[in-house]
Amino acid sequence: MKEFVVRVLVEPKPELLDPQGQAVERALKELGLTTVSQTRVGKLIKFKLKAVSAQHARERVTEIAQKFLANPVIERYSVELEEL
């Protein structure tokens, strides 16, 4: 069994209004980052996982992300894997 650090990044769908993203963008600009655009605020779910292979791990995590970690109506997700 190998050990992986898994990061699932969940963010609001582009077409969905993201009030938190807008608020953060306003603040970033006030703090001097004037060239900022398209700010989105989402969730990071990070965990360690033992699996036989990276490919197997990615499959299992993707299935769970689709079913649980993200709500497909309002969110999209990406899975990142890193072997320890």
Partner: protein, 223 residues
Amino acid sequence: MRAAVVVFPGSNCDLDTHYVLKDLLRIETELLWYRETDLKDYDLIVLPGGFAYGDYLRAGAIARFAPVVQALVEYVERGRGLVLGICNGFQILTEAGLLPGALAPNLGRKFLCKTVKLRVENAYTPLTRLCREGELIELPIAHGEGRYVAPPETLAKLKSNRQILFTYHGENPNGSLESIAGIMDETGTVFGMMPHPERNCERLLGTGDGLKLLQGMVEEVLA
């Protein structure tokens, strides 16, 4: 008639809802532990407000996998009875796919507890049968993730099937799509609403508008 109010770890409005059904409407009502899966002889099941599983990750995201919700899917498929999700209950039903759309964080990014006006959009449903179409009623809301969102094709179906039951009137407190505050499923047996009817069932606490909604569900079963 037998009713059940589901108790998730983290439910807060289970006792409030149980009080209305049992003490005000005199219906035999049980508190149903979330691990139960035998729902066969309930005519009405209510998923109450609260923070099931702490609403961690997303409101209702974890509660949806509770044994009682799995059993609920089958209960609905077999049309065994009526299901009503109030606030957290509505969030759980959308996460479980029993109701279309989703409840996103409020546009104002803050929890909101206030009384709002609602317009009854469809008065020919068990929940609204004691109301008139277009009638304005007052109910309290208390939520942080109450912004109803749905893709265009879902919205179109909701409209054509007249599945929209309530819309916020005068102000849209959380930025919901077309001010939607409550809907039902295509079969007309699963209902979800963000406002809390059980918190306005007595003149002591307000206008009492909430009672006739729960009474409607009871009368539908007894009819």
